[in-house]
Amino acid sequence: MKCNYNIEDLVKLIEDTMDEKSKIELEHHIEKCSKCNKNYTALKLADNLMQKEIKYSKDLYSNLIVRIDENRYKSHSLKYRIGFIFYKNAPKLKIILTAAVIIVFFITAKSLFPFSKSSIDKYNSSEIESQNSTTVDREEDSFNEYDIDKLTEEYIASNLFPPKSGKVFCAYKTIKKIEKDSLITQYLMVLAQEYYCTDGLLEEGTGAVVPVSITIKKIDGIYKVVDFKNPLKYDDHSDEQKNLFPPDVLEEINTGNYSSNEVVDELEVQTLNKAREFYMDQLSHSNISTPSPTIFHESIPLEFKNVDVTQSIEVIDKSVIEKIYTEKNIAGVIVFIFKNSRDDEFLHGGIKINDTYYDLGEVSAIQLEEYPNTISIEEINYCNLKLLRIYGIVGGSYFGKTSYYLFHDGKPNNFLTVNGRGIERDIDKDGKEEIISCSGSAPYTYLYEYEDGYIKVSNINLELNADGVLFENDSNIFTAYYRNENEKRKLFEYNRKEMFLVGVKKDLAD
């Protein structure tokens, strides 16, 4: 069944702002059309629930009175009365002041900048010309898709609605395209979003999702927009607005397929990326890595499991130490890398505390004995704990391993061992560092949180259902790779046990 009604029509019915004839028609239609019926029920439900006022049961005034100065207006009566009169007349004062400033400006500007009339005229006319005709030069006879897309996008972005203080970016989905002789008419579902950049942060301004129609003509190899129908210029769902589109396009629009959450999200990502590119120089780096999660709505809660670190550290006899390669004094304790006479495959880490030798286990492949620089021994602060961290390469293809040890009661204890180079960083700014490990050529990423004395781990590949996850060290972004989704990459930001989708990249070449 053909259905020309949309959500706003149903809202009008609920709010009783429809004329009697249309109301009866729509009521009749709802009985037959299951889509409208469902939408109507959903809206009616929200209407009933959202209108409810919830009573505040506590005594608010008694709580307030202890926090405010009761005598504020009594004792300073005159001061506030003058203030009251001032603020009441503020709008009038504003106009007077603005007028005064303009007059002063003109008087001073005339004497300071003696422009000749012709030079000003020349400047104005060239500016107006460039504003009015957005054209693209092209010699070929056939339509050039790239130029048409570029012109369409630029034209819509600058003509859909005026930006407040930023710049409008747009992305669209094509509903229908008609090419006839030298004319090309496109019916598009456009998402236009204003972005501005303040203090290095990208902020969202006005936004709209609207169907538009744009007709481009090719005259002497030059593309020119000859017609643009913008529904924002009319009242919502007025007859004029409905007449902007031919019936088949209107039908497509009303299916809602072109303004579904998925499409809007996809277009939002595109506009956001355009805005990021545009404001690249002004954006602080931290913002690029932490875009507002409000823009996307997808968040994935992560599952964490306790890590089993019961393996104890062995005390060894000095005679087992065949050769010592590196030695480092960490907080009064001697940490060293040695060849254990019982192991021909790996170099071991060792600690000497009060003439007692401890074997910390394998830390590097024995082949690297001539390259002690590949092993790093450091003391680090992690969640208010002082840990010893040893990193070394233990396998082929530079397969690394990071081991963390904690000193307790004068003895070393295994704290955590991760594959690859462990990164300790408070990426979600919750005051506690996380440890991120990333290894393998199809990267496998784990995230560790320290909580109530336990280390917990989340397998990020598994949680994001990805074929590979890479942690971008400089931007704190987790990039998830999917083999089967047209080579799509999704960008996530971690925050308190949740991953927030902050971007999507279509192909690996992006």
């Binding site: 629930l49 505040y56 005034y61 307030l64 504020r72 009566s77 603020y87 006005t206 968040s299």
Partner: protein, 183 residues
């Protein structure tokens, strides 16, 4: 001079009884608004107090060119915005903090009661997922006596934009509700 203007004038003369009446006139309205925005009883409680403290301190700045209700909602919205920025990471809430029972129609029929509660939860779940701009447009729309122009004024945007946000919010709401029900 209507009742509200009289109460404001008297409060500005130091009559606390008038201010108390003003508080009682608006507390439920503002509380409902804050609760639907934050979905947390505790945070709404704090914000409600802050709103009225701010109202009291700035009462002499109130200009009767605007409706008093618009002004008071604007103050609450400004505080809410700060709250939103500070709690960037806590925007989506555990719905367990929401006083559900206050919202849905209590009925003696357990079946209707259950259905009402389920419906209510579904709406809150969707609300929880709407971003700030959409959520505020959606919530304010259902506040009695606020026009689109008032909503635009409160949220600091143009009426066209407010209208567009509301349209998008409703659209998201309807699609989300449908997908919840399908699943």
């Amino acid at each position: 001079m209507n009742q509200e203007e009289l109460l404001i004038a008297k409060s500005l003369e130091g009559d606390m009884k008038s201010f108390e009446t003003l508080v009682n006139l608006y507390k439920d309205k503002i509380y409902s608004f804050l609760l639907k925005m934050t979905l947390s009883k505790e945070d709404s409680d704090d914000l409600l107090q802050e709103t009225f403290i701010c109202v009291y301190k700035n009462l002499y700045k109130y200009n009767d060119k605007w409706k008093f209700s618009t002004w008071i909602y604007k103050i609450a919205t400004n505080l809410l915005k700060n709250y939103w920025k500070k709690n960037k990471r806590l925007r989506t809430r555990e719905l367990s903090q929401f006083p559900l029972d206050d919202l849905y129609n209590d009925s003696n029929n357990p079946e209707i009661k259950y259905e009402n509660k389920e419906n209510c939860l579904q709406i809150l779940k969707i609300l929880n997922e709407l971003n700030y701009d959409y959520r505020i447009a959606f919530v304010l729309k259902y506040v009695k006596d606020l026009s689109i122009a008032d909503i635009a004024n409160i949220t600091g945007t143009s009426p066209e934009n407010a209208k567009m946000r509301l349209y998008r919010a409703r659209k998201k709401y309807v699609t989300s509700l449908k997908s919840i029900r399908r699943s």
